[in-house]
Point group: C2
Chain length 350, copies 2
Amino acid sequence: MKIRIVDIAKKAEVSAGTVDRYIHQRGKVSKKAAEKIQKAVKELGYEPDIMARNLALKKELKIICLLPDPKETKYWERPDAGIDKAIKELSSFKVLIEKIYFAPRVNAFNEACDHAIESKADGIIYVPIFFEESTLFAEKLIKLEIPFIHINIHHSEASPLSFIGQNAYDAGKVAASLCRMALRNNQEILITYISKEQQEYSHHHARIEGFVEFFENQNTQPTVHHLNLKVDEKDSIHENLLANFLSEHQNIKAIYVPNSRAYSIASILKKSKNTDKMIIGFDTLDANIQYMKEGVIDILIGQQSKSQGYNAIVLMFNAIFRKEKIAKTNHIPIDILNKENIDYYEGLMR
Amino acid sequence: MKIRIVDIAKKAEVSAGTVDRYIHQRGKVSKKAAEKIQKAVKELGYEPDIMARNLALKKELKIICLLPDPKETKYWERPDAGIDKAIKELSSFKVLIEKIYFAPRVNAFNEACDHAIESKADGIIYVPIFFEESTLFAEKLIKLEIPFIHINIHHSEASPLSFIGQNAYDAGKVAASLCRMALRNNQEILITYISKEQQEYSHHHARIEGFVEFFENQNTQPTVHHLNLKVDEKDSIHENLLANFLSEHQNIKAIYVPNSRAYSIASILKKSKNTDKMIIGFDTLDANIQYMKEGVIDILIGQQSKSQGYNAIVLMFNAIFRKEKIAKTNHIPIDILNKENIDYYEGLMR
DNA sequence: TTGTATGCGTTATCAG
DNA sequence: CTGATAACGCATACAA
């Protein structure tokens, strides 16, 4: 049978109002009353009725999500879609979920943070894309006692309520394990990191580390080359650099791209009809998927981007609305995708 | 702003009761009233408040789940766990979820079906493990107008409200694509199907078909051998059969097990120190995972068993409680698992 | 065929 | 500090 507030009120010989004040520690309750109520709660085992609570609630909770503008970086479309899904799903609850996009630049990030703080949220979800600024922001939030969750990028020094994302180091190892499976003896590997000037991300480096260190524990260790390219350079420069590198190192049979820009390498190789290389990259951007279906990209590592956005919201909701304690880290699976299984990816997330 | 029943009642110049009767088509409503209400609903856009509805509801919905006894077939532990998760999550709603286990035999299945029908459920979820009996059961349910969902095994002839599970044929292709990646020229493949006497499942055969047909579309086609074993036979018989087969066909480098019994092949190969074969199988049973971590099994194809159970319930709940229309087929991703990513599998499902 | 009143469990307000 | 009571939006029983 269901225990209601009035049930424990009767048992404790006080009124429902007092029980409510005790349970939610609002207003003052005398010691005598508190003790009696505590006893009654323990004996009867009260569980609040979420439905009734939500119906009676006056003010609504506010959750703010800060994320890089999907218009600027395509990757963020999917977490964004996940957030939208959560918004729809939670629409019958009294929660207001507000999204703030920021351009992937330090000052835009800072502005967004300030804006979020002004909005007086009950919980904040953000992507700690800039290390130091994120730390600063976290300190402010802690001072204001606003709980916050990190998604996608690991940054435990800011001690968020929870982190939800992939273990980048191990993701690199997974990529390496697939290279090892496919490569023959003496074949070599090239790691191409295409990044913006002065803007390399720690999780990309972790993916490289994991990849490299995987082979250090193997019996036979293929030669691993590195080639760093800058996003701002012209395509033709990349084409030349890559072509030269590959012709100097004829044994390279696999190219590892530790961020979502595999499509860019794929485009070069496709143009030059250099078709015998294996490409392995990250993230299911449309462009990546397209090249995978054409057979240019062989493997993509997926990180369930949509589900990350979705679950960040749901976690925060459960934490502040239902007062559940949530896990400090929520590691997303490291998904191996190829031409054959890509069509089913993130199936039930729609 | 939120539109309530009284809002549209006022607009339509009738009482809330009439609106309620119209919306839920209970009781009679005059044509004039119906039209006015319809117009008001269209203009204002009414969305029922799930919370308030649930609070006011008298009787609770009943959902029954029929699934093979996890005690008899280990595989079913995970869908079962998923069902439990859904039960917990929906506990604040007025739904009663009842599980019925059956031993994996025809008469036990039939008994369970009868029992389910007697229980007068509002929705039934079951595993159509026996083809003809499932068809019969489906016909009864249709006659009784009880909606039902199939999980894990595809059986569209019974025309369930929805099917949730993997595309077995494509899963076979995924397995094949990984073999192709790993195999060198001239290396051969062995398919071992370990089944019970007179009890082969169509989805296992589909996994074999998909596997075989994948290679038919490739340039170079490895030789594929077949070896069928019966579960009831002694281990030693299997050991001998396999040993003989492998010594007769020295070029076999990969063994494909189209059901969850890869551990059984792994155990044989481990014992005989036959360590250079690649094993690829299905499902993350503890035994399979164990052998994968030891390096005996190389690849497992996962089908998110827990999430299947969980989502079956949630889907049914949404269908009958929130009256959502749900997709006829819900294909689960075809997950590629190896030693490196297995620890993160089904991460957020806990 | 229609309108109205009561209750679901909680929150929030207000008078004691 | 405490108790009583009116919402919240909907379902349901009953009266008209």
